[in-house]
């Protein structure tokens, strides 16, 4: 495992030293004084022991990080703590009293609060209405908006959140929305705040601001439990770390007394080469050429005069904080969103305004980010899903008639080639695991043998074994002389696979890096891009 450099971007900004100074009571104290204590938590799912006897202790006023790879059991543990799932065994104590929640409502009443990864806000309502929702101050039967507003403004000020109580949530940037979520918890007198991957959607600057807020909360004796897999953030923020692996506690560490290397080893447990860098490809002529591509949004452009080239035998990676135009750029490239300006050619053919079918005919294949909503019809059979796109040509269709036997044969061939673990091609795609579902889509799109493959988040929600398999296949596809445009939120994936990296920020390509120049630190700085410019 390649470790990130010990001194990195996110640390430069906050009062790091203060955070590292253990506060009174913060630490792996005796369980009598623990704010949250989970003992021997066990939770089975069919075929999986998601939690296998986990102990977790968090002291009042502590910032505690819960770490682990995808599938280590973090989410399950937190949903048990928050009353969304019942454990098969184990006990939970909050403030020293044993509890048994059957719903989040009970957890909230006990002083817990969670900021979910996808925010749970009402976009059309104001900040105040979002905060007081479900517990509205009333006056003569109606909502007392003046009192509600006062209370929200007061909380915002006390904890330094800087949120305008009257603003409609739809108009707020992501970082501020997150603080609205925190306000909701504070309004409900939460003493324990659980944050699930809180920085996934934030720019580095927003991340720094969030950390300041969290430190402020801890200083006000609130307990913060942050679920994450980002080492850098754990080192910058937390007092203690609990590392999970395969449903068990792999390590309990004091942040001040540990190193990123130690945490990383606890997380992976083996020398798995997740951040392997593949050798460079043999680069040929240009396949995708984009000049001045623009997509307008409400106000500023979502994609702002983007120009780039992807050549045969090359993987070009697009990095960036979510919401900086990557999605819209890809949609415009593949024909799902009309561009407002610029030019796109695939293999020399102008497809700027062409419908999807014409782009595919010109040599474009596409693995979308959303597998269930866009990339497949989950209710339809694996065979039908694999046939899509091949259904108009021989051998599936002969003299205008679709041949069911050929559809089945085609499905079996791709299932075999891509190692999809599937029973029968007639089974619906929804019966497959995340990794196998992705292999169905990847297999279908690669089978087109298109000159250009556009891939978004190829390994999101995919198990570790499948990740390596998918990476190897992408590189193999590249080495066969195809061009690949890769969008990923996983920096290690971008660095490991790309021959060239483009960093998007606010709809523009902020930086272009060659494979030799790229590391996580430089990418992080580039992603911060314009956000760190003059305010």
């Amino acid at each position: 495992m390649t470790l990130p450099p010990s001194d990195d971007g996110a640390r430069g900004e906050g009062a790091r030293v203060a955070a590292k100074t253990p506060r009174p009571g913060a630490g792996t104290g005796a369980s009598a004084s623990a704010e949250v204590e989970m003992r021997g938590i066990v939770k089975h799912f069919p075929g999986v022991r998601a939690n296998d006897g986990i102990d977790l202790t968090v002291a009042p006023g502590e910032i505690h990080a819960l770490m682990g790879e995808n599938g280590a059991g973090k989410s399950t543990l937190m949903s048990i703590l928050y009353g969304m799932q019942r454990p098969d065994a184990g006990t939970i104590l909050i403030g020293g009293r044993e509890v048994s929640f059957t719903s989040p409502t009970q957890a909230i009443a006990a002083g817990l609060g969670m900021v979910h990864q996808g925010f749970k806000l009402f976009p059309s309502l104001s900040v105040t209405d979002n905060v007081v929702y479900g517990r509205e101050p009333r006056r003569r039967g109606l909502i007392d908006r003046a009192a509600a507003r006062r209370k929200v403004a007061e909380l915002s000020e006390r904890f330094g959140l800087g949120v305008d109580p009257g603003a409609p949530v739809a108009e707020l940037p992501v970082g501020v929305r997150q603080r609205v979520e925190i306000l909701k918890l504070l309004y409900r007198d939460a003493r324990v705040l659980i944050l699930d991957e809180p920085t996934a959607v934030l720019t580095p600057a927003e991340t720094g601001a969030l950390f300041d807020v969290l430190r402020g909360l801890a200083a006000h004796d609130r307990t913060v439990l942050i679920v994450t897999h980002k080492l850098r953030e754990v080192m910058a923020l937390s007092d203690n770390v609990t590392v999970l692996r395969d449903g068990r506690v792999a390590a309990r560490l004091r942040t001040a007394a540990t190193t990123p290397a130690e945490i990383a080893e606890a997380m992976t447990g083996r020398a798995i080469e997740l951040d392997r860098r593949y050798p460079a490809g043999a680069i040929g002529g240009p396949v995708l050429e984009v000049t001045g591509l623009t997509v307008r949004g409400e106000g500023r452009p979502l994609v702002d005069r983007v120009s780039c080239t992807v050549r045969a035998g090359e993987v070009v990676g697009i990095a960036g904080v979510a919401g900086n135009g990557q999605t819209e750029l890809i949609e415009a490239l593949v024909g799902l969103r009309p561009p407002d300006g610029g030019r796109v050619t695939v293999d020399g053919r102008d497809v700027t305004d062409a419908p999807v079918a014409a782009r595919r005919a010109a040599g474009l294949a596409y693995v979308p980010e959303d597998r269930a909503e866009v990339g497949s019809a989950p209710d339809a059979s694996i065979g039908d899903n694999l046939a899509m796109g091949f259904h108009r040509a021989e051998p599936l269709t002969v003299r205008g008639l679709l041949r069911p036997a050929a559809v089945r044969a085609h499905a079996r061939r791709l299932i075999g080639e891509f190692g999809v673990k599937a029973g029968d091609p007639a089974d619906p795609v929804s019966t497959l695991s995340g990794g196998n579902h992705q292999k169905v889509i990847l297999g279908r799109e690669m089978a087109h043998d298109a000159r250009l493959l556009v891939v978004e988040q190829p390994t999101r929600g995919v198990d570790i074994g499948s990740i390596q398999n998918i990476h190897a296949r992408l590189i193999g596809y590249r080495d066969a002389g195809h061009a690949i445009l890769l969008v990923s939120a996983e920096l290690s994936e971008i660095i490991g696979l790309s021959d060239r990296i483009l960093v998007m920020s606010e709809g523009r390509i902020a930086t272009e890096l060659d494979r030799g120049e790229a590391d996580e630190r430089r990418l992080g700085l580039a992603m911060a891009g314009a956000a760190e410019g003059p305010a």
Binding site: F122, Y133, G134, G162, A167, P173, V176, K184, G297, A531
Partner: protein, 313 residues
Amino acid sequence: MPIDAELLASALRALTPILLAALGGALCQRAGVFNISLEGMMLVGCFSAVTGSWFTGSAWLGVLVAVAATTAFSLVLAVGSVSLKADAIVLGVAMNLLAVGLTAFLLRTVFGVQGAFSDPELKGLGAVGLPGLDDVPYVGDVLGGQSPLVYLSWVAVAVAAVFLSRHAWGLRLRGVGERPDAALSLGVSVTKYQYAAVLASGTLCGLAGAQLALGNVTLFSENMTSGRGWIAVVAVMLGRAAPVGVLLAALLFGIVEALGFRLQGQGLPQQAADAAPYLVTLVALFLSTARRRARRASAPADEHAAPQPASLG
């Protein structure tokens, strides 16, 4: 032609059933339930109102029976759509046909007639005056002398508007419709609010049916709602599920209908008058979606949209 008092008065009569049903539809929409069974609910309201009035001899008890029966009928949608997650369109189409069959069947078994039931003895709602208002010129002619349910429908618009914007339950209902998962995470029961909205739409459609069968006319005939419930569905869409918006949409429909009726006296074929409200509604939908699109395209630069550097301390 001038829009005189008589025309407006007849427009008000025409729009009241639609308005009441559309208010119910708007509540459902706000709670996240797609209700296309307004037509069937209203028809059940018509029949039960006539039945209630006939057997009790009181139009008011007829209204009460209509409200009770239609609310009970709306339970089908509540249970099916909210609890059992049935497709709202399939269920709506089936409920509308169920209402047609059920009322026709009962018309024959209860009244022993086919097609329509009317009797001079059947008590209608009649007209009431508004004290003090009847004598005001013009206004009195428009607003006075309407069925009590007409006045009730205006009150219902106001109550619904205040409820949705100012009452805690209204806020929660809107939240339930917008982001059910978010409402649930704050301990607000999505099911409860959706049930309430559907049952309220049943109640309102009961009133709508009563107004149609005991107010606008005093009879029941098979399929007498003849598309009014569907117009209410469209009014919900046109009025963006806001009570006042729904009122305006229903008003548009009512005025066109009354105007068409008036023009028939001057030689316009009845069929043209019948068709006009639907065409006008369709055009209004074009304009409303076109305007929304235009606004979206030319939205002014939004200062909030850029990621803020935030407080760096």
